[in-house]
Symmetry: C2
Subunit: 291 residues, 2 copies
């Protein structure tokens, strides 16, 4: 799914919801056997229940690798289901890979080409040649900038020689390496004022914001801080994982997941309908050409 398609599905679905598939064998609802082979069926049920409210799905690869071959099978079945049944949803491999060029190319081959994910999360520590191999046609590199965990203070928030924090250097350099329509930044939402500041540093780039739901943060705060107000596409994907997947552990888990996703989408639609304004010319313009 390319940039224009993403803008289109966000506007037509009135949603920026990304559903994280951090599917944990130990947390499956009561109807599922507590084994890795259940993960794909659970994911399909969550996807079916939430697809009308969501624009993206993001399996967290660690939760599948934890079970070796069986976990990898569940991941393949999940991405296959998404590609076949929901081609109008962006798929993000939350893998946080980062390695030298010939190795990064292997990750790109496996996750973007063989499995067919649209996007992959990438760690920037090893620099340019660890990021560029993910630039395949219509694929996205979703690069860690400022995360919402406590450890973000350890390096990301530390000041460089020019007084700016490390994450600001990451935003600037990565923006030089990857075209706008293929890049996204991971920016945490635990502090809305921080999110607003990051927006001033990367105005035209999509943010993937993980800190909503069980990790804290609210939809109006996130969109108020980082949402594009003067052009289509919003510029933000808001992820929720556990608050949707584990909304109930009873037989009503899918209905409960749908309710949670619907509630988030309602807030997103409300913001999109009340807080934005653009001219007809802006709305019909190429979003990549709007400053």
């Amino acid at each position: 799914m390319n940039y224009h398609d993403l803008v289109y599905v966000i506007e037509s679905r009135q949603s920026v919801l990304c559903v994280g598939l951090d599917s944990d064998v130990s947390k499956l609802p009561s109807g599922f056997a507590a084994k890795p082979a259940s993960l794909a069926d659970f994911n399909k049920a969550i996807i079916d229940a939430t697809a009308e409210y969501a624009v993206a799905y993001k399996p967290n690869l660690a939760f599948y690798e934890a079970y070796g071959l069986e976990g990898w099978k569940a991941l393949e079945e999940t991405i296959g289901y998404l590609r076949n049944q929901y081609p109008g949803h962006l798929t993000i491999a939350d893998a946080k890979r980062g390695d030298i060029g010939n190795t990064a190319s292997q990750y790109a081959k496996g996750l973007l080409q063989e499995l067919g994910f649209d996007a992959i999360t990438v760690a920037p520590y090893m620099g340019r040649d660890s990021v560029e191999p993910f630039l395949l046609p219509d694929k996205w590199a979703v690069v860690l900038a400022l995360t919402s965990n406590g450890g973000a203070d350890d390096f990301q928030q530390q000041r460089m020689a020019d007084g700016r924090p490390l994450y600001a250097h990451v935003l600037e350099r990565v923006s030089q390496w990857i075209p706008t329509e293929q890049r996204m930044f991971v920016v945490g939402a635990t502090r809305p004022e921080g999110l607003a500041h990051v927006r001033t540093l990367a105005e035209d780039t999509y943010f993937l914001v993980p800190g909503v739901g069980a990790q804290g943060g609210s939809v109006p705060e996130v969109l108020g801080a980082a949402g594009w107000k003067n052009r289509p596409g919003v510029g933000v994907l808001i992820n929720a994982s556990r608050s949707i997947q584990y909304a109930s552990n009873g037989p009503d888990f899918a209905a409960a997941a749908a309710r949670e996703a619907s509630a988030l989408q309602t807030q997103m639609a409300h913001w999109m309908q009340t807080e934005r304004a653009w001219t007809d010319a802006e709305a019909s313009a190429d979003p990549l050409d709007v400053a």
Copy 2:
């Protein structure tokens, strides 16, 4: 394999050689079908040919993930073979994982517990809570500090507010989080003077040095710059991947791999026998107690 065991096998085998298993379907020797199912057999042949010269093996996970389920099967078969046939060799999952705590715990479960690797390479960008979940008993976190790729200049070598480069902060902080006997740093060897400088910043920590062989650098230079001269254990693992694995693409590939590994081990043994000196008391002391 714990710290004392590693010191023991290094001294008894007179080697610090780590053989990287970056096994590429497109580069298999002539006797192998060019398909992922051949990877495990190729790895077993390389391992059998090099085990007497090596102390560690390091599969690069990207090369297996590139082939999905079949690649993962080859990885499982390879680590299973190592654990059963060569329990006296350290096994390192070259995965460069780095994610928030509950996700990092899943990677630790999958790679260190289920697959049973002794060690995993870790990216430090997300900070403390992304590193600590790998601290399982007798397991190692091998943290990226200063890598040997061109992109190392982009962030790792950049100066922080106190004038020191980012990698120096990584060395310092990670050393506070992880005990000496469970930590290792990835330090590139393309510039020996850089390696010597890094040694002054982390004197008591094992380095995994990837830049020997096809990536450049020489054994005497690396050990001269970073090897411990006054106590057992050397303090360095030197990795070679392609120069060993693809020494020949004919039916003599295993013999050629053995020759390459033997040549490196001979250089290592020579350095260990000629460039070091310690008293009997130092030699018999607990290596973790020696300053």
